[in-house]
């Protein structure tokens, strides 16, 4: 499986993501730049975390309008797998690839800590290596991760199994509605999540609970 990582000025977890994909898949991902209009032939596109364009406008709003994101949307439409982490999740929402919005954390403060995530749907291309309902460790690091959607949208994504990860055991760090930490689109090929599975994939990270997510989507045996 080949992958590509989207690079935009101000993203800063691109190196973490490239390292994780390289270590797990055994090959370095391609990279695509903000102005690229075509994305190489890959099976997975990742929009990593950071502060694209400083997040000086609404988080992800500028990035979502860059040429490269039009190319990502076209690929998603063709069924290519797409993951957006943290700022990448915000960008996918702003680009209309996922429903809902991410607001400022309820605490109004940046938060970096380890939380618990429940795998709310293990029957997805992103989570098949987890057990249904499994609770995993995962770090978060964000200022705007408070997921919100209107009642109809919320009902639709809950009923459709589009909620993939929830904050578990009272660890919701940001006030997200229904403890939502990660969602996918109805077709099941675009995932957005606030936590950083790429920072928990090896002994040096103190655990590898994030690894099965990448193994699932890259089709790699654990």
């Amino acid at each position: 499986m080949k992958s590509a990582v989207v690079l935009l000025p101000g993203l800063n977890r691109d190196r973490d993501m490239i390292a994780a994909l390289t270590k797990i898949s055994g090959q370095a991902p391609d990279t695509v730049w903000q102005t690229d209009t075509e994305i190489p032939d890959v099976d997975l596109i990742v929009v990593p975390g950071g502060f694209s364009y400083g997040d000086y406008l609404r988080c992800g709003a500028i990035a979502a309008r860059m040429p490269v994101m039009r190319a990502v949307a076209e690929k998603a439409q063709k069924g290519v797998m797409v993951i957006g982490v943290c700022n990448g999740f915000q960008i996918l929402l702003e680009a209309g690839l996922l429903p809902g919005a991410l607001m400022r954390n309820a605490s109004l403060k940046f938060v970096c800590r380890e939380v618990r995530l429940q795998v709310a749907n293990a029957n997805t291309a992103f989570t098949r290596r987890y057990q249904p309902g499994q609770v995993i460790r995962c770090p978060v690091a964000h200022h705007d991760g408070n997921y919100f959607a209107d009642a109809d949208t919320l009902k639709r994504i809950e009923d459709g199994g589009q909620v993939v990860f929830r904050y578990a055991e009272g660890t919701n760090p940001n006030g997200s509605v229904n403890d939502i930490a990660g969602i996918m689109n109805a077709r099941g090929n675009v995932l957005g999540l606030m936590p950083h599975p790429e920072d928990l994939i090896e002994d040096a990270h103190g655990g590898a609970d994030g690894r099965p997510l990448f193994e699932s989507v890259l089709g790699i045996a654990a």
């Binding site: 000025p9 800063n12 190196r15 973490d16 502060f51 940046f110 970096c112 040096a204």
Partner: protein, 741 residues
Amino acid sequence: MTIRNDVAITPALVASHGLKPDEYQRILDLIGREPSFTELGIFSAMWNEHCSYKSSKKWLRTLPTSGPRVIQGPGENAGVVDIGDGDCVVFKMESHNHPSYIEPYQGAATGVGGILRDVFTMGARPIAAMNALRFGSPDHPKTRHLVSGVVSGVGGYGNAFGVPTVGGEVNFDTRYDGNILVNAFAAGIAKTDGIFLSQAKGVGLPVVYLGAKTGRDGVGGATMASAEFDDSIEEKRPTVQVGDPFTEKCLLEACLELMASGAVIAIQDMGAAGLTCSAVEMGAKGDLGILLDLDKVPVREERMSAYEMMLSESQERMLMVLRPEKEAEAEAIFVKWGLDFAIVGKTTDDLRFRVMHQGEQVADLPIKDLGDKAPEYDRPWVQPKLPAPLAASDIPQADVADALLKMLGGPDLSSRRWVYEQYDTLIQGNSLQRPGGDAGVVRVEGHATKALAFSSDVTPRYCEADPYEGGKQAVAECWRNLTATGAEPLAATDNLNFGNPERPEIMGQFARAVTGIGDACRALGFPIVSGNVSLYNETNGRGILPTPTIGGVGLIDDWSKMARIGFAREGDAILLVGAPDGWGTHLGQSIFLRDIHGRRDGTPPLVDLAKEKIVGDFVRALIRAGVVTACHDVSDGGLAVALAEMAMASGIGAELDPPSNIDPIPLWFGEDQGRYLVTVDASDKALLRDITEEALENGFRAPIIGRTGGHELKLFGARAIAVGELKTAHESWFPRFMDGQ
């Protein structure tokens, strides 16, 4: 508003630039005429304390700055130390005290931005940050506002830039009420053959301006930082710069690409005194003149005068000398990152600093006298008056368990979680130990086993009582914290925060503290490779506690053997390596005396440097041999606090067996130096015997003082305390304080 260059130079104008009459006379003698208004501004920027170190240089020269691993000592943007395999660590600590008091968010943010720039200007990618913060009394009406603003400013910049904050300090004392301290540390990794310096080389080569545009922000900032505060401080708000971490992140990537392209001859970031300071330093260090054409400088405001452009402290800017044949390639890199790239001058062979603006020469000054030959003072100083030691019979009593809970739940010893959870502590995926332990640890990317440890330390109340011993202790504690992870301490950076050096008693504190730092660094083989001096930390004539912050870096060969502070498992033996008779004895200047009895008397604990070195080397060897299951140094609050911290870090309790004939108060709360708590496998009797015997052969003691296990901390003779109760006390203070409860 436009400031013209033909403003009349009056004594009042000279004074308002922070220049003393004798300094102004020196200017007149140097240039043989009255300076222009822009020239006066340039002199003021270069000769202020912040840029020239004129009061401190004499003493800084006494510090040890070299060693087998030191590649670059003080004098460049940051120090450089070899870590083997062709890699080096580049680091420095710098203060942003005055701006952070005036405007806490932007002051702290730009402090972080400035120190990161110092590191990547040298060709290093930043991999770790720390910050040492001192605030006024928790009761002071401004303290919460300042804590909140500074912490979010540090986080706002560092998180967006993308560097993990792995350690630091937060303390409170009423002496910082009107003058907080924000000391920012950054470290990066570079290739030893890829270090970039600020010394210009070659005549007639292009001087290039890089990064963000120049605005009016921060005009006169360095001069402000070199003045005492008074009640009119609010008027200084416009001299604080505004940070833009997005541009800084782009500047980092563009600079590293530029350096890899081979286009850079010399490079210098624009920090204090902006364009003036960077241009003068590059020229003076290279024995070259610099000619600048301000009409070429990218500006973001209209009708800026030469004076404003030369003194602007707009952030995220760099100046470099370019290899001319690489111009197109270099410019393309900056265009890609959306940054300015403008040739604004050239190097000359006339040793003059000349500045042109709209066809007029607005400055023509001797560059060496502005830069490395700036004035220097041997300020008068007096020996600090030392306090009387506590009488041997003076042992104020308290219930041990109650005292421990009160200290752990107090402003200075409580958990800093409220602070560090606002910092991204794990970005880059290399953080092996995050805040809360003895030192932050980050693995070296591209190497299977190597890691770097970072710690920032000083105990200002010790420095106030005895600046010499306090200076020694700051170095020793930093060295000890690195050692407690198993790291070999490599080198340190010093951030010396003091009051007004024109007062002999303050200069005495400074002189004695620096002497103590130097003695400790020599004894421990821990050279100072970079640093910063912040003087005039006074408000209405009252100085801060003398605060020489030491930021140290250590090297871990194999991080799989690194020690952490949490008790690792039940049933391990606890050893107190370096224990005096009776485990603990010294209550003078202790947290116990201050927080339980409201007393700030006695002498601070002495640091026996020879013993410090032997004990530390012994502990490090144990850790590296892989036999240590947990390790923690004993510092503020003494043995009881250190044990509690080890228990809280893992949830495992401990039972201690102290000698029965000893007063429990100094035993549990004494702050004797040079002690480590180490846990090892209790069933390995041979190991325990070897440790105890080898310690005695080396002239110190390592008694077994108890064992781990259970869910309580049982200090013999005191009420057993559940680890959960310790945690509640420890974690509650900060959030409650910030909620205004």
